[in-house]
Symmetry: C2
Subunit: 254 residues, 2 copies
């Protein structure tokens, strides 16, 4: 049995709490955050704690707060004997170096409270200074995922940056696509098979080969017409930047 604490009440805390609670070999001892109401939304009342000076010791403390709050939270955990890990993609393990035992437990996924996720396929990137701590993180991660990887802070930083392109920016493009069809009273659902194929295609070929469209062909006429169709300044800028980047990638003249 591994005992864990969760610190935080956001999307990552919510999903790790649920996933870990479901494992018969993990016991969540406590979930700590300042905002009691946020905790009440999803945490068993007996496990709720809002006083950072009253964190109970356990095997693994999972800090699931925004990047800028990690250092502050870590200060409240100086005296603990348990392994303290953060769950951030962009933050170095070194931020926690003043603690006795520290590491990283980063699930590479996008989380929203409104949506269930199946943890078993989510890559969990682990890192620790001490071999026994790394082993402990591996055992814990394998309780909820089949894809556990040892990843250094530098590698994790790269993965996180790439994830911004793959998830954050992609999702924003989908939002813009949705806005464009909505402005013209059309149904976004008609674009979903295209979106699914965009992703499925990558099982057969790298995105470099999968690229199609006017920018890839260097079709200036269509690109000009598209720009004229767009009404919002941000849409125009993004259309221009991405089209130029595609043209450069395939050696087309601008």
């Amino acid at each position: 049995m591994i005992t864990v604490n969760i610190i935080g009440a956001g999307n990552v805390a919510y999903h790790l709490y649920r996933a870990l609670s479901l494992s018969p070999e993990v016991k969540v001892l406590q979930v700590t955050a300042r905002d009691q109401r946020k905790l009440e939304d999803f945490v068993n009342p007996e496990l709720i704690n809002t006083d950072f000076s009253k964190i109970k010791d356990c095997d693994v403390h999972l800090i699931c707060v925004s990047d800028s709050a990690i250092a502050e939270i870590a200060k409240a955990m100086f005296g603990l004997n348990g392994l303290v890990v953060h769950t951030s993609g962009a933050t170095s393990i070194n931020l926690l170096h003043q603690l006795k035992r520290y590491g990283v437990f980063y699930p590479l996924q996008t989380f929203s409270k409104q949506r269930d996720v199946s943890f078993s396929e989510i890559p969990i990137c682990i890192e620790a200074e001490q071999k026994n701590d790394l082993a402990l993180l591996k055992i814990l991660a394998l309780k909820i995922s089949n894809d556990v990887r040892e990843i250094t802070s530098a590698q994790r930083k790269t993965l996180h940056l790439s994830a911004i392109f793959v998830n954050n920016f992609t999702n924003h493009l989908l939002h813009l696509g949705n806005e464009i069809v909505k402005q013209n009273n059309l149904d976004f659902n008609i674009l979903k098979p295209l979106l699914k194929e965009t992703v499925m295609k990558l099982e057969d070929m790298p995105p470099f080969e999968a690229q199609t469209g006017p920018a890839r062909r260097g079709d200036q006429i269509t690109m000009k017409e598209h720009l004229a169709q767009l009404s919002e300044e941000n849409q125009k800028k993004i259309y221009t930047e991405l089209s130029e980047s595609i043209q450069k990638t395939y050696g087309k003249e601008l």
Copy 2:
């Protein structure tokens, strides 16, 4: 039985040829393109034609060439009695107005020859001036797809523009994400669960709600660090434009 001709040897011609050939109620009479070798790659030798003055008449002629070549091809088809349609998202039906009977048959999907697609889920957008022509296109489209929609040229133009964001630009972001991990000797596969979830999430919520990440939070420190990590100018520009657009969308200060 509906008889059809296909004009073109590119990705759309290839996939329409395959889908239509598989329908027992459609007969492909001829496939016409200048480049014999391209046709030989996928067309039954008996159906190959490279002489545009020798196009046989039939029920529906499907022009599957690049947008800029449609007008030129249409000239070779003046004398025909069959319904002549183009398959372009960005081109108005009016480009064909000098023909006796004309229309549009636009499958909203991204096609590559290296990858099979299941036509049954692909939305086919049809348009024609005459009611009986529209009815004929509907019957033909339903032979290969379950999702057939009457869409005007103006609507189709909007869908095509939105599809550029949803497919072309998204795919390029995936390419950039791939480049970033490759430059650091990491495996793009680790990002695939994230990518899949990005798309699956939209079954539960619109992309506006699904947005996460530093730009959405207005986290300037992480954004600055990301920019410093990026080595290529186009990556930096795209990071900046998309982050600004996200911040504006959620009312964050730049």
